[in-house]
Symmetry: C2
Subunit: 285 residues, 2 copies
């Protein structure tokens, strides 16, 4: 397989899930990349389009396609806490790849096209809807902090919440009325997002359960294609999902997601690696 | 009038709006009151039932009736900022008395019974529903801070928002789903609160407009009587309403409410006094 070119790899990724990264990890040496290992990247690499906290987006020759590089950088509390998690970029990109494929196979439209390397994803160009759509199966995180509901309270039916994606404002919670006031999405779009989020929750919850992982809550971002269609964007990973080891009851040991970084629980990289291994074991099982 | 006893005064207050305080202001000398001036107060004054940031509640001989004393103490930002505003207790009690009477005359049930002194109100015993119900006609305050909506944006139709009355949690905004999750009020009660809040907004907005005051937004609290009926409680004053001088366009000079205290705009007591004088002028006009 080592002598396949990038487009063939991309094809094989399409045809042969579960996806396995075929390239060595690329290293960022500056704003741009030093790339000779893989020919899926434009050479020279164009200026980045956008750099977020966890990913960098690059244009490609096709205006409808972007390249997304997953970084090891970790941030929390609206970037007040910064660090790095070993292999996070690869793990999150690989997990997201598998989970996007799973969702696509179940009829959920995503921005994923293919993943030509462990930490690179080709995605459809979309206009990101500035909302963080959070689904909660179990109370944790900001819900507990803000409302006093006890950590671990089962939420049935699951809660779908909308936060305004705006770092300067600290990603505030939006009521349906505030959603309407800000005009970030129409009532109809909000209903589509809610319905997609619940569908995704059903699929992911079942899948993670088969990996002995409890899907506590997660954050989704959606984008609009040029056609107007709404698709799932961003990523699905331990950065964006709270995942508890369902074989473990200890409230610290069970945590297998970014809360280990947020709360300084240690073994952060091991937890991310553990999630990947469990997911791969089930997919290959 | 000076030789009327308290019950006669109370009667006359009922019968002869607009209310005018009949007693000299009482001074708090300790946790208890040094009271010889007025015989509407139990002697000795019993232990207070509850002391909030702006009022003290005392029991009376009748379990269905409480006495509420309005303090001059001013707090803001969840009591991080503390101070005192001259004559605030009297002004807020007197304004609330008039506004509760106005609302009662328009069919809105309130906890108000009578006001035997300028800073004392007799109220029905109710169980306070732990929600701050906020009505917004114009964007200001936390709405702007949280969502980035520009100060002064007209909100039409008005927004009714619910905040969880919990100082430890910082009175967080509640979505309808979180309201349901916390079980602070049933869906039916929430609809009653929303409807009462909008009715109250219509009445107050029109009344304040006749005083050349723009009702920007305001916070209401409601209570449940022993019978289960929901009534308007707390107070209606420049502590709980944002009021802008409608003859004034300057964004600082127009402010006639607690924002003068919050934002250190000066002339705080004058603003409160100004609101009272305008309201009295209209009522007596």
């Amino acid at each position: 397989m080592a002598d396949l070119d990038a487009s063939e790899v991309a094809m094989s990724v399409w045809l042969l899930p579960p996806f396995r990264p075929r390239y060595e990890r690329l290293s960022i040496v500056s704003e741009h990349l030093s790339v000779t290992q893989a020919n899926f990247l434009p050479d020279p690499l164009p200026e980045k389009l956008y750099e977020g906290k966890a990913k960098v987006l690059y244009p490609t020759g096709d205006p409808d396609v972007l390249l997304s590089f997953f970084k090891d950088d970790a941030t929390a509390f609206n970037a007040l806490k910064r660090g790095s998690i070993a292999r996070k970029g690869e793990i999150n990109c690989t997990l997201s790849t598998h989970l996007f494929q799973l969702l696509e196979s179940r009829g959920v439209a995503t921005h994923w096209i293919d993943s030509p390397a462990a930490d690179w994803m080709r995605v459809k160009t979309v206009e990101i809807i500035p909302l963080e759509v959070v689904v909660r199966n179990i109370a944790a995180g900001s819900l507990c902090k803000q409302t006093g509901v006890a950590l671990g309270t089962v939420i049935d039916p699951p809660l779908v919440e909308f936060f305004y994606k705006d770092d300067d404002l600290g990603d505030p919670l939006l009521t349906p009325d505030r959603l309407r006031l800000l005009k970030v999405a129409s009532d109809e779009d909000v209903e589509i997002l809610r319905s997609m989020a619940l569908t995704i929750n059903g699929i992911l919850r079942e899948f993670f359960a088969s990996c002995d992982l409890t899907l506590v809550d997660f954050k989704l971002e959606f984008g609009r294609e040029r056609s107007g269609s709404i698709v799932l964007a961003d990523e699905i990973s331990p950065d964006t999902c709270r995942l508890w080891d369902s074989r473990e009851t200890d409230p610290e040991r069970r945590v297998m997601d970014k809360d280990r970084f947020r709360q300084d629980l240690g073994n952060v990289a091991d937890a991310y690696e553990g999630v990947l291994q469990r997911v791969l074991a089930v997919l290959e099982g």
